[in-house]
């Protein structure tokens, strides 16, 4: 049921898009994953951890 919607968003029938800059070449999908990992890493350091009253 959701397949056509997802297929419209992620069309896998065509060749992948690539970022190419001098010697650097990487698929856009991999670039997005790496940027997401960096974003999560920075967020994990900056966002305060919730404090909880200890019952023991």
């Amino acid at each position: 049921m959701y397949t056509p919607v997802l297929a419209a968003l992620f069309d896998l029938s065509n060749p992948a898009h690539y970022v190419h800059w001098h010697f650097f070449q990487m698929s856009v999908a991999n670039v997005i994953v790496i940027l997401l990992m960096i974003a999560v890493f920075v967020a994990a350091i900056l966002i305060p951890f919730p404090k909880r009253e200890r019952s023991w």
Binding site: V33, L36, M37, V40, A43, A44, I45, F49, R54, W56
Partner: protein, 198 residues
């Protein structure tokens, strides 16, 4: 008795209060410390979904909707596994987590990461579709060129499947258990001292 020796060694190196602690140092209350256990949680899903896939077989995971669902669960739990493991690795690198006699903890984690890459690679080879055939045909030349093609033949499905569902998962799980026991034994690495402090 050897059992006495093993028991005494185990209890002295990992007493119960260290093995199952009920509190952690205050510096552990940060999101960056969550990614180790997130990696393990993803690994549990990877192993369980992999067991279901292995029992049902390729015809099931490629053709039925439930099979494709579990195929997707297996793929995305692996994505989360590597995602969390890389963030965990970055965090521990910048903490200098090998300090204070924690060298083996760092090394077991690094080796687990490398073996997990092999487990993922053999997983792509075990899909039983055109994607796996393409990866095998591309990978064989690289592996032949370094002289291991005769022992690690990516075009041999049975061999790759054995690596993927038995040998490498056993190695990864065993190393993760060892890694966690080392963390419990030596504790979580404290932060670097502030400027001017020793």
């Amino acid at each position: 008795m050897w059992t006495t020796w093993v028991r005494e060694r185990a209890v002295s190196s990992l007493p119960p209060e260290k093995l199952l602690p009920d509190r952690q140092p205050s510096y552990v209350s940060s999101w960056i410390y969550v990614f180790g256990v997130a990696t393990i949680a993803a690994l549990v899903v990877v192993v369980l979904s992999g067991m279901i896939l292995g029992l049902a077989g390729p015809a099931w995971w490629h053709t039925s909707s439930l099979g494709r669902f579990f195929n997707g669960i297996h793929l995305w739990s692996v994505e989360i596994f590597f995602f969390a493991m890389v963030v965990h690795l970055w965090g521990k690198f910048f903490m200098g987590a090998w300090r204070g006699g924690r060298g083996r903890t760092w090394v077991t984690g690094a080796v687990t990461f490398l073996i997990a890459i092999g487990a993922a690679f053999t997983g792509y080879l075990s899909q039983q579709n055109f994607d796996s055939q393409w990866i095998a045909s591309e990978g064989k030349d690289g592996l032949n060129s370094v002289g291991i093609g005769a022992f690690f033949n990516v075009a041999n499905f049975g061999q790759m499947y054995t690596w993927h569902v038995i040998l490498l998962p056993v190695a990864v799980v065993a190393l993760v258990v060892w890694h966690v026991l080392l963390v419990r034994r030596h504790g979580v690495v404290p932060p670097y001292p502030a400027k001017g402090q020793k």
